[in-house]
Symmetry: C2
């Protein structure tokens, strides 16, 4: 299997960078990803303080949120859609979460002043039934929960250059921190450049909705992907298919605008691909007991938008 | 079992109304609830047009969203908390959903103009394993999904009068349209008046997140409740306990303010009742793979706020 090494990380996503790998449609390939601060926070003693992170924040673009790539997919051309399959996501043996002074909803809390002080926790990743951490457990002191490894940042080279891999998001992809970009899911992205030019990074071992303190269980890892090309297929915004549901993604601020756009685009999807009348789609989303809005990420950082998904179980599609 | 009949509906919730029932703590009682337009929309031919709804909209307060009550709970005094157990929720044999002209996110859509026209659908409710509709299925034409009967509006008489049962929401309760106010859940409300003075109404047979078109599967029904009294227990905002999780509710606009308040109040709950340090609570919500934000209701109607819940599985509480 072809592999892209971790040293091929970048902090912007753009169309004029030579590919680091070329793959055929359907070919599985492995990408090594680096973590949110390029490996500089590895233990509880490594604090993401303002001084400590200056070398990362001061560069242009800032060296936060590295992505690996770009990967050239043969046959992909402007106007096509790229289908990315997440075949295997294996996080390293431990991840970290940080309180970064000045960042996060409670950084300036008077009630709990300690939430403005730099702190790092280490989260141990125990292998699961597969023998790897792809389906294992997270341990932090005496606390335990299931790992849910996913890819925080993924996209193709956009039509126009974006500010950085940290705050860039849009129809081309970006830093979504969407917990459903995981094994078994398929992501549909529009193609702007020959080969698509896919970037992947920012693996999270686990994360709650909103990514509350601004940082998740951040981890290096390896991801195995394959890409398909849908010729001439236009999509208004990236879509996600899970084994039992479909999810329309959207990133915007304020949060209700993201929710409205995702839900309206889901209606478009139902009308155009599943034969719904607009009225039936409108009614169904209002009365179906299992239509869900997922608030994947709601972090206030620069121009970063909030990420939501409008999710409908597949059985509704076949009536 | 004591019963409150449907005719005891009101359109405001306030502390100077004589109780229609008096119950002891722990006593089960049955409340008949009426539906969103007081039974005027019962078939696909009944349209919630502007002219048709004038008699309901023009009164003060408007006769939308009736609630039954108030119920006086013995021993409840200002400064206590009322614990409401949802023991049984049985919707009628059919519910309706409407497109109300001028209401809803797509009422003014140029792409889909028909979404501004009045329309009503009838949803048949089939009994489930219990022999009643409390655990049955919804049928709309050839479409089928699970019923999830819940109470859309519930609260105690507030400290100060609120505008109406339709747009009123606050620390005392209100029109939340929260799908987790269902059988097996326990809701904690603050008490402002002697007896608590509980109001209940606005049953929904099923509803998707956001209540997208502005109206759910609206239905008359019967609910069996019981109330406990926690003497001198102060809560900053109503809380909900489900069998396997705890949920901090909040209603506000914009949506991100509701999410931030619910999550911060959940942290307070973890710190004050479950022995978490603020820092541990802050980290946990950021990295726990199963911390969820529920966007229960996001309807733009008058001063109505959007309703969210911050939900954490119980196993996290015991470490």
């Amino acid at each position: 299997m072809q592999r892209v090494e971790r040293r091929h990380v970048r902090y912007h996503v753009r169309g004029d960078v030579p590919p680091v790998l070329q793959v055929r449609p359907g070919e599985s390939f492995l990408v090594e990803t680096d973590d949110f601060l390029t490996g500089s926070v590895r233990s509880a003693d490594d604090l993401a303080t303002e001084e400590g992170t200056l070398p990362y924040s001061r560069s242009t673009p800032p060296r936060w949120n590295p992505v690996t790539g770009p990967v050239f997919v043969e046959g992909a051309e402007r106007g096509d859609a790229l289908v990315v399959e997440f075949e295997r996501i294996v996080p390293d043996a431990r991840g970290v979460c940080c309180i970064v002074p000045g960042i996060g909803p409670l950084a300036d809390s008077r009630r709990w002043p300690e939430l403005g002080d730099a702190a790092t926790i280490v989260i141990e990743h125990e292998p699961g039934p597969s023998g790897t951490t792809r389906d294992g457990m997270a341990h932090w002191g005496s606390r335990t929960w299931s790992l849910n490894p996913f890819i925080g940042t993924i996209g193709v080279a956009p039509d126009h250059e974006v500010e950085s891999s940290l705050v860039g998001q849009g129809v081309w992809g970006g830093n979504w921190d969407c917990r459903d970009l995981k094994e078994g899911s398929r992501l549909f992205l529009p193609v702007y450049h020959e080969g698509g030019l896919l970037y992947v990074g920012d693996m999270h071992g686990s994360q709650g909705d909103t990514e509350w303190c601004g940082v998740a269980n951040e981890v290096r890892g390896e991801v195995v992907l394959s890409c398909g090309v849908l010729k001439g297929k236009r999509i208004p915004y990236p879509r996600l298919e899970k084994p039992d549901s479909i999810v329309q993604l959207y990133a915007d601020r304020p949060l209700e605008d993201a929710v409205r756009a995702a839900t309206t685009l889901l209606m478009e999807w139902l009308v155009e691909e599943y034969g719904f009348s607009p009225r039936d789609a409108y009614f169904l989303l209002s009365v179906a007991s299992d239509f869900r809005i997922n608030v994947y990420q709601m972090v206030r950082a620069g121009r970063l938008n909030y990420t939501v998904g409008a999710e409908l179980p597949r059985y509704h599609l076949t009536t």
